[in-house]
């Protein structure tokens, strides 16, 4: 399940935040916010994607730039909502 989750989020990040033909590699450890792939404004749409997909509500205090900075960090965040 965790592998599926990883794949799902990586695919979403690539589709929504990278240009087609972008040579940038994204894996579960790739920094997203601190590298500038996803800026802090766009983080809101990423948060919404997770909330919608897993029918959860992530409170603002948990929606930190750190929590969204990699796919692994997001998976850890999702675990707090019993999503794994």
């Amino acid at each position: 399940m965790c592998e599926d989750l990883k794949k799902l989020i990586i695919e979403y990040v690539k589709k929504e935040y990278l240009e087609e033909e972008d040579e940038q590699e994204v894996d579960e450890n790739t920094p997203l916010i601190s590298s500038g792939i996803v800026d802090s404004f766009s983080m809101v749409s990423l948060k919404m994607f997770l909330e919608k997909k897993f029918e959860i509500k992530i409170p603002d205090e948990k929606a930190t730039t750190e929590a969204f900075d990699s796919v692994n960090n997001m998976i850890n965040l999702l675990k707090e909502f019993n999503v794994s």
């Binding site: 929504e16 500038g36 802090s40 404004f41 749409s45 930190t64 730039t65």
Partner: protein, 566 residues
């Protein structure tokens, strides 16, 4: 002792000639900003001094001396000239914060063209609107961003040169050109274009309530303001390590991320990465940053991460902290005293003013939450919104108004003189912001006087968002407003009525958000969407954005009959 010394005394005796004389502005008929930010510093014997330390996301660094800056800006100037660009042509810079951005900016000015920097996160539509309006002749970009230009190029017949600074010819299309600043033959001497004081230099686009974004046009003489404000407000001194966190796609990033510091011959550092408190503190510590110019949104993000992360670093190098972009709340000033042992000094200005106009000074008492006082040489007041007469009663809210005539003031909106003329009332330039002045002459920001949304220190026009929303297949009509946000001051909220056959859903909301993010920019993306059956309108059919705004902010709506007649 700060550079400005006594503010009161300087305000009384100031003349812009003081700055021009220090700069030796006009010596040998030279007025070109490009010269004053590179060649002149070398002529003064500081060619070996470091001008720029650039750091990428992975921690890799590049260092450039003033002599490097001079030579590489010559490389760009010659390359552009050899490719047929002429004085007065608009040359856009569309790239992330890499050294080529900063250096090509000077190169463009040195050969007489007008630099048009654009934020690299702009989507296709936002980019097209600004290139189309300026009738831009050439664009300097990178492999990462050239795809956006390819998608819109057919619609831009005036755009004759697409220049990619980090590619070889093989990876480009036939009508694109490659240049490598560091691998190109060095250009020791370049005849800098003999610009006049009033020759156009920089075109920065900014948003208004109605219509498309407009290009605020500045001239070479703006350096007189930018030089002295950098020296007196940012208090930069010869041995400082200066960090301006703004992107040069916006005016702060050029006025105080290029022109101000380099005209003063200071060493500046640039971090080309996204936001992370840890990375920022590491960067300050590693490079021993002494003067730090940043934005309230960034400060509030740092606040969110607390002081524990601050304590992990030795930040005793910091000497002076300044903020710009939106009002700096008192809590942020107090937090900064707690975290860094010194306050952030708020400064106020806008794209049109070209340089800081109202601010707090190193040796003037800071009243947390206040914008400070007018810069010497700037006559600032607040005026009555109806008759535009100055308001003399302290504490009364009015419109911030400036007496025209300081060197960095914009000279027109590109191809829109009528709009430019409309910004002046009763002999004052009206900034579009509301404020009051207290008994001691300090300005206190209240809010915008129009529907423009200030998000994270950047102005976003509701019209541009609403126009783009209408291009989404599900949207029948929409209104965009700013809603309060604890970090960004405001974020975009959209009210949307759907076309028949579409139902509100989280899927649709996400689809619309991403649609705007890609088309315009992340800043313009609604952070919240409220689906409504219909939108409130005036009798003539105009959407009553102000009514929605008042409801969102919990303000008195008052008599709506006048709104309905708008």
């Amino acid at each position: 002792m700060s550079n400005i010394g006594s503010y009161e005394e300087k305000y009384k005796t100031f003349d812009w000639e003081i700055s021009a004389e220090e700069l030796e502005y006009g010596k040998n008929g030279m007025y070109n900003i490009g010269y004053y930010c590179s060649d002149r510093i070398c002529d003064k014997g500081f060619g070996k001094k470091i001008a720029l330390i650039w750091q990428g996301f992975k921690g890799e660094t590049k260092t450039f001396t003033y002599d490097d800056i001079r030579i590489y800006s010559n490389v760009f100037a010659k390359f552009l000239k050899d490719n047929g660009l002429q004085d007065g042509d608009r040359v856009c810079i569309f790239m992330d914060r890499i050294p080529e951005l900063y250096i090509s900016f000077l190169g463009i000015l040195k050969m007489g063209s007008i630099a048009q920097p654009l934020f690299s996160a702009f989507g296709d539509e936002a980019l097209f609107t600004r290139l189309d309006d300026a009738k831009t002749k050439a664009i300097l970009t990178t492999k990462k961003h050239v795809r956006k230009i390819r998608r819109i190029r057919e619609k831009l017949p005036e755009l004759t040169k697409v220049i990619v600074v980090d590619a070889d010819d093989k990876s480009l299309k036939d009508d694109e050109i490659a240049i490598s600043m560091e691998n190109a033959p060095r250009v020791e001497h370049f005849d800098v274009f003999k610009a006049g004081k009033e020759t156009p230099s920089v075109l920065h686009y900014t948003s208004g309530t109605t219509g498309k974004p407009k290009g605020a046009m500045h001239v070479h003489a703006s350096i007189i303001s930018q030089y002295i404000t950098a020296k007196w407000v940012l208090d930069i001194m010869p041995d400082d390590i200066y960090w301006c966190t703004a992107d040069p796609g916006w005016v702060t990033g050029t006025s105080y991320g290029i022109i101000g510091p380099w005209a003063n011959g200071v060493t500046q550092v640039v971090l080309d990465s996204g936001f992370s408190s840890e990375n920022w503190y590491q960067f300050i510590e590693k490079h021993k940053v002494t003067v730090w110019y940043t934005a309230p949104t960034a400060i509030r993000l740092l606040m969110k991460d607390g002081t524990d992360v601050v304590k992990k670093h030795n930040l005793s190098c910091l000497r002076h902290l300044i903020s710009v972009g939106e009002p700096l709340n008192a809590e942020a000033v107090l937090w900064s005293e707690q975290a860094f042992g010194k306050p952030f000094y708020d400064s106020y200005w806008q794209t049109e003013t070209g340089s800081i106009v109202i601010t707090n000074y190193p040796e003037m008492k800071v009243k947390p939450g206040s914008m400070g006082k007018a810069f010497p040489g700037i006559k600032a007041t607040i005026v009555d919104p109806k008759n535009f007469e100055p308001i003399t009663k302290p504490g009364t809210v009015g419109l911030i108004a400036l007496k025209p005539g300081w060197p960095a003031m914009f000279r027109t909106y590109w191809a829109n003189k009528e709009l430019y003329d409309g910004k002046f009332k009763n002999g004052w330039y009206i900034c579009g912001d509301r404020s009051s002045i207290d008994n001691d002459g300090y300005f206190w920001f209240v809010g915008r006087d129009d529907d423009v949304i200030n998000t994270g220190g950047h102005l976003v026009g509701p019209f541009e968002i609403e126009s783009a929303l209408l291009e989404h297949e599900a949207v029948a009509e929409s209104a965009a407003i700013g809603k309060p946000d604890p970090v960004n001051m405001e974020v975009v909220k959209a009210f949307i009525a759907l076309k028949p056959g579409y139902e509100p859903s989280a899927d649709l909301e996400l689809s619309i958000m991403n649609f705007i993010r890609k088309k315009l920019s992340p800043l313009a993306m609604p952070q919240e969407i409220e689906f409504v059956k219909s939108l409130p309108k005036t009798r003539s059919g105009k959407i009553m954005r102000r009514l929605l705004h008042a409801k969102e902010w919990g303000e008195e709506i008052g008599d709506t009959s006048t709104l309905e007649d708008d």
